[in-house]
Symmetry: C2
Subunit: 140 residues, 2 copies
DNA sequence: TTAAGTGCAAATTATTTGCAGTAAG
DNA sequence: CTTACTGCAAATAATTTGCACTTAA
């Protein structure tokens, strides 16, 4: 079900989201979900990946694309540190590990998190999402 | 137990943390915990508060002070949006509501959150803290 | 052929830093 | 006296934006 994203994620997928399947977007999309794996990227890391792949995409377009993809629900922004924006190809509510020293972000095993009770949204509001970030520091 | 902070939070408290009790820090400390209430502030909102109170504190010093206070464990930084840093006078692990439209941050009732199971830290690491942010969007 | 997308460079926003002056121990 | 702190202004970092050019429909 999530694997299908990798296949859908071509011209067709982009069109269905109202986005033109440009060369740049297709290149980025393939880097993000080309192999069906989930990824955590920053604008900078993704930009470097495009360069390593030999794709010509400007940093500005990487930023624009990350934003567009997030707006149409293809990516989810994770807020772990005030300075850099991280984006996750897994858009479901799931916990993250964040290594405070290296700045690395990774999924935490979702099945090990059990929220037995959650504060209800105040009236007039609804929950848009719940972020659980487990911050780690190296031991020893 | 938390109320006592307000009283402690004077020259004595600052000294015990290795910080000189300067006029600026005392002014900021009193704005933060002067009445024993917990607060969520940004550098900007705190700076405005000092001005409203008639205290002469520069914005740079507000930033420096927020950082020092966080380092000695008097404040806790909460990461809710990529652009602005929020600081909480309540330094315990507790959930937050974040209003996506207004950017307001507030405590969620801690007793309504029950984490029955939490992913264990990978080996070589230990959990420094767990952030739970419940993002809200206005309904209607 | 026209509306959307790209890319550069300049602008913005939040924050940090260098350093000369000021104040606390 | 000596070292930490303050405040300005300049520097930095991440991201956004204006606008001329290009590309997809």
């Amino acid at each position: 079900m999530h694997h299908s994203q990798a296949k859908e994620m071509g011209a067709r997928w982009l069109e269905s989201a109202g986005l033109r399947p440009t060369k740049q977007r297709l290149a980025i999309a393939s880097l993000l979900v080309g192999d069906g794996q989930h990824r955590h990227v920053t604008a900078e890391s993704l930009f470097e990946a495009t360069q390593a792949a030999g794709d010509k995409v400007s940093l500005a377009t990487v930023y624009n694309t990350l934003r567009s993809f997030s707006e149409v629900g293809f990516l989810r922004e994770i807020l772990v540190n005030g300075t850099k924006g991280y984006f996750d190809t897994n858009t479901t509510n799931h916990p993250h590990f964040f290594w405070e020293d290296t700045g690395q972000l990774q999924d935490a095993p979702e099945e090990d998190l059990e929220i037995a009770a959650l504060p209800a949204a105040p009236k007039g509001a609804e929950i848009s999402k719940v972020d659980v970030v487990i911050r780690l520091r190296s031991k020893g």
